[in-house]
Structures are given as structure tokens and as C-alpha cells.
């Protein structure tokens, strides 16, 4: 099983939109796919749909957690199927790196 972790590289906000402050409109994420001690990195960018953000669903940018932001990005690119395809794309790299574990340069 491939584990996925995310790290925010950058958030871009609308300072004011729909009477809300600092509405996140674009996200850049660093994504790490890990398995059996090997890892492979990807980079994700997404422009989010902010037209229907309401006061009820709005989360202040300072209170956002990484899982929420990553969820928005994944959803904007097609949801779980997108993530599955992305994991598959990194599978070969992980296989190669798993085979390299334990090797040392000789001599």
C-alpha cells in the first residue's frame, strides 16, 4: 500500500471575495508517496472553485489543516480516481527505489 503525505508549498488567496476574507483560490502542494521505506515525490497545483463559497462552509485560512486543503486539490482533479492514477504513476519509481534499499557504493 502506498502512503501519501502532503505539504503546502504555497497558497494564493483572494483578499476579499463574497464578503469573505482571504478565500483560497490556488494551491501548490508537495506530495510524497511512500512504501516500504522508499519514497517518490510529486507536485500538485490546482485552481479551486470559489464561486460558491458561503459563510457557512468557509474556513478561515489560518484554521485550515493540510488534509482539508489536500482534499480540495484532489477533488478538483477528479477525486479518488485521480489519486489512484497518481499513485499508479509513482508505483514504478517506488519499485525501483525499494530495490535500491540496502545497497552501498563499492568500494
Amino acid at each position: 500500500m502506498i502512503d501519501v503525505t502532503y505539504e503546502i508549498i504555497a497558497l494564493y488567496v483572494y483578499p476579499q471575495k463574497n464578503n469573505l476574507t482571504n478565500v483560497v483560490g490556488k494551491v501548490q502542494l508537495r506530495t510524497v508517496f511512500s512504501r516500504n521505506g522508499a519514497s517518490s515525490e510529486g507536485r500538485l497545483e490546482a485552481i479551486l472553485d470559489t464561486d460558491n463559497v458561503s459563510a457557512e462552509s468557509f474556513i478561515d485560512v489560518d484554521n485550515l489543516d493540510i488534509d482539508t486543503v489536500a482534499g480540495w486539490v484532489i477533488e478538483s482533479h477528479g477525486g479518488e480516481d485521480f489519486l489512484t492514477n497518481l499513485k499508479n504513476a509513482h508505483d514504478q519509481t517506488l519499485q525501483d527505489k525499494e530495490r535500491e534499499i540496502g545497497m552501498v557504493k563499492y568500494p
Binding site: A46, I47, G78, A89
Partner: protein, 175 residues
Amino acid sequence: MALPVSGTISINDLRVEFGDSGSSSLSEFYRGGGLVPATETTTTTTTTTTTTYEPGPGTSNYEYSLVSPLYGWVQDESSPYTNYLYWNNVELVQFTDASFNNTNSYTHTDGWTYIRNASPTNTGIDLGDIIVSVFPIRRQETTTTTTTTTETTNINTGVPTSGTISLNDFYGATA
């Protein structure tokens, strides 16, 4: 909740089921007459996901060209290990990396994910100010389509639309 399919049904049961008020008579409960619906509409939403691979088919083919149109994942071999992604002569993005050959996919805001091959086709290309390696590149896109289907079916077919009507005609009838 539908009326029972057997046993005793009262006119008060009809009033509750079909939302009638005041005094009621059976003639108010003809099918399609306003209180008792003749049809029911159901809406079904289906989500279909499609993945497109280019140059395809599948995930094993890559594009690579150092002449126009440019295709490739170019990376500076020295710090700051800047990546330059080219697809069909367009430079999609530049970004720096922690180390050489560190980032293996890049998902663009246009929805496409660009993936580099594990091994470069060319290394040590001297561009004057930087020396780069070039990796073959492919891309994939996941598209989700939502289809809504509306279907109308006949219901309460045991209830007459006119003429003689009895409480037993309402077995299983529903609002």
C-alpha cells in the same frame, strides 16, 4: 409511507396519506385527481470517470523531442535543480527541487499530470549557463462526468380514475 397491502383501510388513513383536510369523501381520491398521484418521478445520478493518457496508449509510452515541437522534462544537473517541463513546444512550468531527479510528477492547473521517465535520454547538455538532463515525458488526465437521468413511472394503478371506487382499491397506494 404507503398504505397497507391488506387489512382494513379507513378514509382517515387516506386523508393522512394523501394530505387531505376537512371532511372527505372517496370521490376526492381518484387517481390523478389532485390528491392521489398517477406517476412518480425518480432521479438517478451516475458518475463516470475517464482517464486519458498521452501519447498513450496506457502508461508506458513517452514523448521526447529536442527540436520543435519540444517535449521533455528538463532538469538542471546542479543546485538549485530547476525543472522545466515542455509539452508540444509550450513550457508549462519551472520549479526548483531539493535534489536531482527528485520530483517525478507534476499536476498542472489545467488538469493534466505530467510524469517523467525514470531515466534521462540525454545528460550533460550544455545550455551555456546551465547543464541539464532531459527525461522523456508523458501525461494523464482524470475526467469525471456526472449524468442525471429522470424516469417517470406509473403508480397507484389500482386506484380508479373515475367511476366506482372503494377503500380496498387503495391497498399499497402511496402519496
